[in-house]
């Protein structure tokens, strides 16, 4: 890895079903201004802007970064637009970090957003008609068979998804920015909610949100801020094709290799023991169990046991999604960056009510496409 990179400013919007109080411009500025305030910087201090979001069909604007250039203070500066499907929020942060690590810029503003209420996210995600048969509607229909296969392989009890859903929603109550605040949610309520795509019930599904996240990433010389920075210890991206005979969609090789790469860079040999907090992309509750295995926190077939025994709870030995995660807020393009940012907030001791005591090393994780795009980083309180 090249030059050190620090996270010196973090901001996010209040996420909601429909932010009809604001335009796309207001939404990205709300997050970006908070990140600048956190870093004690102004727009003028920024060298370049790297923005990411998921498909342009969500808002119906082609390459919206062109229209957002003024609002993000990018005029006269380099501006780059990343799109790597659902992992994009994570990849965007990695591309921004890459500019600092390569020594090109000292302070990069990176922003990710989605204003899903401007269209119908489910149909915006559906494959094109008539070129591909419309076999599935939205992401739930696509991922439900992966979950069924996971349950078959692992022999997991059928209520693991319910337990994750309750845990993440109760975590989300501690996060003032979370879209869903469901303090009274119960196991029975999740169990009795409508079955959407078996085995995924309504309350085992992420919401569709409007929201944005922003970070200021800086070179070592510029990493002087009121709150100590989070240092980037490792970054990795991996991609594999959507489908081919023999592909393991439940435990994708790209995810396994991406995780191994960040652990190697960060000098981690026992991730469950050494990582204090992880924010991972769980759009449907069962994915917590699946990703525990893909991320090598648990042996294959045992991921669900971490949920079942409470290891992934906020007071467990491997707290997962203390912020409430994607299950509480899912502005798709921003969701990956929110994971990366929440990981950095943990090691900066900035997470408020959902802070994990003494968190020094945290993992941010995002995935996208048909479980085929992965982006991860590891951030720490100490400079690597």
């Amino acid at each position: 890895m090249a030059n050190p990179c620090a996270v010196i400013g973090i901001g996010q919007t209040k996420h909601d079903t429909k932010r009809d109080d604001c335009s796309q411009i207001d939404l990205v500025r709300e997050a970006a201004q908070r990140a600048l305030d956190d870093a004690d910087l102004t727009w003028r201090d920024i060298d370049a802007v790297v923005i990411g979001k998921a498909p342009d069909t969500f808002e119906g604007v082609m390459m919206p970064e062109l229209y957002l250039a003024d609002a993000l203070g990018a005029v006269g500066k380099p501006m780059l637009r990343v799109h790597t499907a659902g992992s994009v929020g994570g990849s965007t942060a990695l591309v921004a970090a890459s500019l600092v690590q390569a020594g090109i810029h000292d302070r990069v503003l990176t922003v990710a957003y989605e204003k899903q209420s401007e269209s119908d996210a489910m149909w915006a995600l559906a494959m094109r008609i008539p070129f591909s048969p419309p076999l599935v509607a939205g992401a739930g229909g696509y991922f439900a068979p992966h979950i069924r296969e996971y349950i078959r392989r692992s022999g997991a009890p059928e209520d693991i998804g319910i337990k994750v859903a309750v845990k993440d929603r109760l975590n989300g109550v501690k996060n003032p920015y979370a879209h869903l605040h469901l303090p009274d949610i119960t196991y029975e309520e999740v169990r009795d909610s409508l079955m959407l795509w078996a085995p995924i019930r309504y309350l085992e599904t992420c919401p569709s949100s409007d929201g944005a996240c922003a970070m200021v990433l800086a070179a070592e010389s510029a990493a002087k801020t009121p709150t100590p920075p989070a240092w980037v210890h490792a970054t990795a991206m991996r991609t594999e094709p959507t489908m081919f005979a023999g592909r393991d969609e439940v435990n994708p090789v790209a995810g396994q290799e991406c995780a191994k790469d960040v652990y190697r860079q960060a000098g981690i040999t026992d991730p469950r023991k050494e990582i204090d907090a992880a924010e991972i992309y769980v759009p449907f509750s069962w994915f917590e169990a699946m990703w525990m295995e893909n991320l090598h926190f648990a042996p294959e077939g045992d991921g669900w046991k971490m949920t079942d025994t409470g290891a992934t709870a906020i007071d467990g030995d491997m707290p997962i999604n203390a912020s409430g995660g994607v299950m509480c807020s899912n502005p798709i393009g921003a969701s990956g960056m929110l994971r990366f940012a929440e990981a950095a907030m943990q090691v900066r001791n900035q997470a408020g009510e959902h802070q994990i005591d003494g968190a020094r090393l945290a993992l941010g994780h995002a995935y996208g496409g048909g479980s085929q795009y992965f982006a991860m980083w590891i951030v720490g309180a100490e400079k690597p």
Binding site: V61, P64, A69, I104, M127
Partner: protein
């Protein structure tokens, strides 16, 4: 900075409508050609980056299937920009600066014939105040051209000469879509498309793809006897609102050109991504390129303009001329957005 070079370039022939092939099928032979020309395979590539647009394909995640042209198995280190491939190349160049990988594959594909390109591009505009009026890119370029002619005293004849020269140059470019010998006076007898622009002032609508391979340091020298070294690369954006810009100038091109180090040494050739004739003149002035610089020996975007691809192709065309020995120092430029809103400049040189 680590020395990084363009070591190979390939492109698909631009056509108005490729009815027989989808994006992957257009791209596959291009990726194969660019790797074969170096005697390497995808397994020799350390980083892959691409530029495409979902709105051209009319499909979310259209870049996902384009991956099949590369064969991303075993899993690869890969990223994608929803921009012209020239910006994907910038990302790859940055990634090579880290020092842990030595090669990168960059590709772009654009199949404009999938929809009505003029309608599609109007959706790039401010979604609340401008896009609902559906102003198409030709009309916006015409506003720019009118302002440019009025400020500079240049004439429609000057524009026709730009068109004629590019079409002559394109005769030597097998990938070009529009080429031939045309008399500017005859071109001027054509009706306006949108005054002051005639058909020859506008780019063709194209389906196409291109790819380059970047390599760093000694690896570049191993792969290519005379690599096109990237001596500088930079990109800048301007305000989106047309009313807040001086459309007759391109300050972001000037700034990117300064950062990339265009001036100081003589430039042999320049490949400027000017989809409209007047934009070539604006860009030429913005970069301070004199009369001794050969502009767009390929015929430029006026000869072939696959959206998302044409900028990367400018870099490839310029690099190809350095690699072949035709040029010692070349400037390549890419643009994005209405009326030259965003611009990238790359300086390529042979080794001293």
């Amino acid at each position: 900075m680590r020395d990084v070079a363009v070591v190979a370039f390939a492109q698909a022939p631009s056509v108005r409508r490729d009815n027989e092939r989808n994006e992957v099928e257009i791209l596959m032979p291009v990726v194969k050609e660019v790797l074969d020309s170096l005697g390497i395979t995808k397994d020799d590539i350390g980083f892959t980056c691409s530029g495409t647009s979902d709105f051209l394909a009319g499909q979310p995640f259209s870049f996902v299937s384009a991956l099949d042209a590369v064969g991303a198995w075993p899993p690869i280190v890969e990223s994608h920009v929803e921009m012209d491939g020239a910006w994907a190349m910038h990302e790859a160049w940055v990634r090579l600066q880290h020092g842990d990988v030595d090669t990168a594959l960059v590709y772009a594909v654009g199949k404009s014939s999938m929809g009505d390109l003029l309608d599609v591009l109007s959706l790039q505009l401010d979604p609340y105040c401008v896009a609902p009026l559906w102003p198409d890119p030709v009309s916006l370029a015409a506003l720019q051209a009118r302002a440019y002619l009025e400020r500079t005293g240049r004439t429609e004849r000057d524009l026709a000469e730009v068109a004629a020269r590019n079409r002559v140059n394109a005769k030597a470019n097998p990938a070009a879509q529009v080429s031939g010998d045309f008399d500017p006076a005859e071109l001027l007898s054509e009706p306006y498309l949108v005054s002051p622009l005639r058909k020859h002032d506008c780019p063709p609508i194209s389906d196409g793809a291109s790819a380059v391979v970047l390599a760093a340091g000694d690896r570049a020298k191993e792969l290519r006897g005379r690599p096109a070294w990237i001596r500088g690369i930079d990109h800048r954006i301007e305000a989106h609102s047309l009313g807040s810009r001086d459309l007759t100038r391109s300050p972001s091109t000037t700034l990117a050109g300064e950062k990339a180090g265009v001036n100081g040494k003589a430039v042999d050739i320049a490949e400027l991504h000017a989809p409209f004739t007047h934009q070539e003149l604006i860009l030429r002035a913005a970069l301070g390129l004199g009369d001794n610089v050969t502009i767009n020996p390929s015929g430029g975007a006026l000869a072939a303009n696959p959206v998302m691809v044409a900028g990367l192709t400018r870099i490839g065309e310029a690099a190809q001329r350095v690699i072949s020995g035709e040029a010692g120092r070349a400037v390549a430029h890419a643009t994005s957005g209405p009326c030259l809103q965003q611009n990238l400049v790359c300086v390529l040189e042979a080794a001293d």
